[in-house]
């Protein structure tokens, strides 16, 4: 029990430490992130060595020679680790190092606390229905949002005063040539503002709101995160539809259940048809969700006052990265590390194959990296281009009727709405199919021995 808990603590703190280091490196100083990672790694190694020492000293075979040897090795490791820690403390800032060092212990304490809390009556009553947990999450999120708003407001205020101070000192310093510099500054400011607005697009709910309340911080927040909000809203909508459709399954399905079953069945057949019956069914949930989600996001932009999140490169890159990480993970799990390297080297089995490894390996690695880029750019370019097309023709229709001075326009974009519908479906399909193909290329290739034989016989 104890050792198993320790193993779980190790795994969890590895993840937590990695995430904390990444977050620190991204949002604070990169050196601090490195320090957090090193502190967590140091602490983990320390834990492992301590565990070995204790197991060697108190295990069943503690009198034997090998156990003594292991204990001495662990002691030596701990001494070397302390020397390494001393070097780290000299080299890196102490506070993030200590924070990283504390991560495994925090995880251990929390896990132990969860062991105490989980079997109690109160916790069981709390988790009987999901709603109390949902309420707690909502309250926490709202609180975090409020705190973040207050904090960022205070910080931006501070920054403004700082900027004003630097401007003052700047004008004091360069009094010799004030006017051209000021003009340039104003032009640069104007340019950056124009760039922030970005390309022309249809107004959606959030832009309307943020124009109605230009001063309100919540409107600014909404405008800043509109893509995230729209994509989360779509995800929520899909969740609700799926829940309603499957909440009360009938033998003779109603229309919604029938539709959901049809979609799932078609996607299942499609994906299993590509991946084969052995590997296919496990990946249907991921790839099918990808298709439905992307399709919903693409079509969402065609609803008036809505925007398709996939017309932002951020969303498509995130989707492509998820596919990339998933396929690499599946590759590592199915092939093993050595098998993955072998796969990347082009499965060399002959002298020619081994000779080609120096060429094949970089080509395959670059191909792996190019896949997510091409996925993201394709989806973004298609949806964004389709939206631009609609905007261009809508504004053309307004320009045509501009002489009437009435707030009307010819609906010239109407035929292109159908084109946009087609593109939306096609791009969702293409994204899913290409993800499936990338996954298929990762999976072991001993899929179709019969087809191969038939092929060999036919020739």
């Amino acid at each position: 029990m104890g050792l198993e808990l320790l193993a779980r603590v190790r795994r969890t703190s590895l993840w937590v430490g990695g995430i904390a280091a990444l977050v620190t490196a991204t949002y604070a100083v990169p050196l601090h992130g490195l320090a957090v990672a090193l502190g967590a790694a140091w602490s983990l190694v320390n834990l492992v060595l301590l565990e070995r020492l204790i197991v060697a000293l108190t295990g069943a075979d503690r009198r034997t020679f090998s156990a003594t040897g292991r204990a001495i090795a662990a002691l030596g490791g701990i001494l070397a680790l302390f020397a390494a820690g001393w070097l780290l403390l000299l080299r890196f800032p102490a506070v993030p190092l200590m924070a990283g060092f504390a991560i495994p212990y925090t995880v251990m304490v929390l896990k132990a606390a969860s062991l105490l809390v989980l079997p109690t009556q109160a916790w069981q009553r709390f988790t009987r229905t999901p709603w109390p947990a949902v309420a707690v999450v909502v309250v926490l999120a709202a609180g975090a949002w409020a705190v973040n708003n207050v904090w960022s407001g205070a910080r931006s205020g501070g920054r403004e005063t700082r900027v004003a101070a630097t401007q003052e000192s700047g004008t004091h310093g360069t009094e010799a040539a004030p006017t051209p510099a000021a003009g340039e500054g104003a032009a640069a400011k104007h340019g950056s503002e124009a760039k922030e607005v970005g390309p022309e697009k249809f107004a959606n709910v959030i832009t309307v709101l943020s124009r109605a309340f230009p001063q309100a911080p919540w409107a600014h927040f909404l405008h800043h995160y509109e893509v995230v909000i729209f994509s989360l809203f779509i995800a929520l909508m899909l969740c609700v539809v799926a829940m309603i459709a499957t909440r009360n399954p009938q033998m003779i399905p109603g229309p919604l259940q029938n539709g959901a079953e049809m979609v799932v069945e078609r996607l299942y057949d499609f994906i299993v048809g590509i991946l084969g019956p052995r590997h296919g069914p496990r990946h249907v949930p991921f790839l099918g969700t990808l298709f439905v989600y992307i399709l919903a996001m693409n079509v969402f932009g065609l609803i008036p006052f809505m925007e398709s999140p996939t017309s932002s490169l951020n969303v498509t890159v995130a989707l492509a990265l998820i596919v990339f990480l998933y396929s690499q993970y599946i590759g590592f799990r199915e092939l093993g590390v050595l098998g993955w390297v072998d796969h990347m080297a082009g499965n060399p089995r002959s002298a020619i194959g081994w000779g080609l490894v120096p060429i094949m390996l970089p080509i395959h690695l670059m191909g792996e990296l190019a896949k997510p880029i091409s996925l993201a750019c394709r989806l973004f370019g298609n949806i964004f281009g389709e939206d631009m097309l609609l905007v261009a023709f809508a504004s053309l229709g307004i320009t045509v009727l501009a002489f009437t001075h009435l707030p009307i326009g010819l609906p010239l974009q109407l035929p292109f709405l159908f084109l946009a519908l087609l593109t939306s479906i096609l791009q969702a399909l293409v994204f899913t199919v290409l993800s499936t193909i990338y996954l298929l290329l990762m999976l072991p290739h001993d899929e179709h021995p019969h087809e191969g034989e038939a092929y060999a016989h036919a020739h």
Binding site: A194, K195, I274, S374, V433, L434, I437
Partner: protein, 78 residues
């Protein structure tokens, strides 16, 4: 010719050239797929799937030019 004029000329031209290449490619893909379907109508589903994948790959090249145009468009205004 300063670089802004060069950009303003080159970006639409770049998209056009990429579109010519993609168009030829898409035409060849479509021709091949249609011929194959005509010869073997029972394999329509498989052929269409492969056609869509390869068409997406061919079409992506124009999309790259399009994305490049949007990345570089800010340079025209200077």
């Amino acid at each position: 010719m300063d670089f802004q004029a060069a950009l303003a000329l080159g970006l639409p031209l770049g998209i056009g050239i990429a579109a010519i290449g993609s168009g030829i490619g898409l035409g060849l893909i479509g021709q091949g797929a249609m011929t194959a379907i005509g010869r073997q109508p029972e394999a329509t589903a498989k052929i269409q799937l492969a056609m869509i994948i390869i068409a997406a790959l061919a079409e992506a090249l124009t999309i790259y030019a399009f994305v490049t145009m949007f990345l570089l468009k800010g340079g025209i205004a200077g």
